[in-house]
Symmetry: C2
Subunit: 281 residues, 2 copies
């Protein structure tokens, strides 16, 4: 997916969201936003927007001397852990626990760097469980999961990772080996090793660090160890729009589970923003 001109205002919106996590002081915010503006002026539009957002989040972390999302990630993980027992019960009681867990994993993708409200997540859960989703390759997903020994699971956001745990637990229950992939270091509110620990994943499955601080999965920037695991993976589950942006169309068979959050991606997919997808590559 290439960068569109509509991505440019969104780069600045993301910058403001990140800065506001740390300070409301315009005297601190302004010089950073002006540096980001210089950076996006030269954005390479032949690449996915995740390239530019990776650069801008690096710049913000460097100028602010801290990870803007550290606190909010902890809040999201705790809130989601509070929902876990009830969600686990829903999976257990359902007619098709794998499908219910997959749908809940998609619903958890509503947890992004905006404000997490219980209304948003409950609405997202209701929508995922009670309505048709826009793209639903579940039958093929179930079949491919049944045939696989091992699953490489690319995690996305903090908080959301608790919803992913439900799906990972179903995969484990079906006898699959699961490797859950986290970011090598902080970027946005993406899952790193400590978030995976907070969500209780560390005791369940192997955690693989991708060696990168990029938004999504920009393969050339990941570690050689991760790339070799990725290339040899039997079945890949990819969470979130960032991973979709950066991995879609690379020829590797993957199931993309996400909500199409922005106008640009939604337009590429021919869907309305907010659509839920379980999409086979």
């Amino acid at each position: 997916m290439q960068t569109q001109i509509d991505c440019f205002p969104c780069f600045l919106r993301q910058t403001i969201i990140a800065l506001k996590q740390i300070t409301d002081d315009p005297a601190v915010q302004e010089p950073v936003i002006r540096e980001v503006i210089s950076l996006i002026r030269d954005a390479d539009t032949s690449r996915p927007p995740a390239y530019t957002t990776t650069f801008l989040h690096r710049l913000i972390r460097s100028r602010m001397g801290q990870d803007p999302f550290m606190h909010i990630k902890d809040v999201y993980n705790r809130l989601a852990m509070g929902l876990y027992p009830e969600l686990k019960d829903r999976v257990r009681r359902s007619r098709d626990p794998l499908q219910t867990a997959a749908r809940l994993a998609i619903s958890g993708n509503v947890i992004d760097f905006g404000i997490f409200t219980s209304i948003d997540i409950e609405n997202s859960i209701r929508q995922a469980l009670e309505e048709h989703i826009a793209v639903d390759d579940y039958l093929s997903f179930r079949q491919d999961v049944a045939g696989a020994q091992e699953v490489l699971y690319l995690l996305d956001n903090a908080g959301e990772v608790v919803f992913d745990r439900l799906l990972i637990e179903e995969l484990l229950r079906a006898g699959k080996k699961v490797k859950a992939v986290v970011k090598g270091s902080p970027v946005l509110n993406d899952v790193t090793a400590s978030d995976a620990t907070q969500a209780g994943l560390t005791d369940l499955c192997e955690i693989v660090d991708n060696g990168s601080d990029a938004v999504g999965t920009i393969l050339e920037w990941t570690s050689p160890e991760f790339r070799s695991r990725y290339q040899s993976a039997e079945l890949i589950i990819s969470k979130g729009q960032g991973n979709f942006e950066t991995l879609w169309g690379n020829g590797k068979e993957t199931y993309f589970l996400f909500q199409s959050k922005c106008e640009v991606v939604s337009k590429e997919l021919g869907l309305s923003p907010g659509s839920m997808l379980l999409k086979k590559s």
Copy 2:
């Protein structure tokens, strides 16, 4: 009103809206948006956002060699003229025609550079006529109108100008002399002399050209003739958020009739976006 960091993404959104009026070709759009990005990097945040938007719209017109809003302004004027007979009838039949006309003038401010749909405008009309508006200094407005001989009426957008005609007609019916102010040359979808003609204003009252292509009314950039009329005006009616941004707090007694469209202005006013105001300075 000073420029806030939240204005920066909005500068780029406005740029994209303008460019898309002319072309969907990224090869044409991209170089212009990169030039606009250079321009906004150096935005003077001690001034209202209207300064920066004036510069960026000048740049877009210059690079594209045309006024991006010429066509859509004509469409808006025609659509609004189609609504005029019914709206005029509503004013005539109402208990307080001046108030109804003022409310309709505010409702017409929903016509901005986005997409004009009949649903938006009908919803806006219903809201203005049937609900309380967020700020309502009408009693003082009626009294000041009664005491004035002459009104300087700062117009805002094409299409909206037809709604202003209703209020101007009520002022004329009450024996006031009205001078309707238009932009000196095109900027955004703001009213110029030709739009005033299209809305039928030219036969009703004097049309005053402010000599400027600025968003809102940036007094130092208007013509000396306009400034002298402004400074000596007995009663000023100012339409739209741009005029509010640029004229609020300058000590000149003015009634601001508009909808608070953006988060930044709404926050300054302590209102939710979309609020309607008839606000005395």
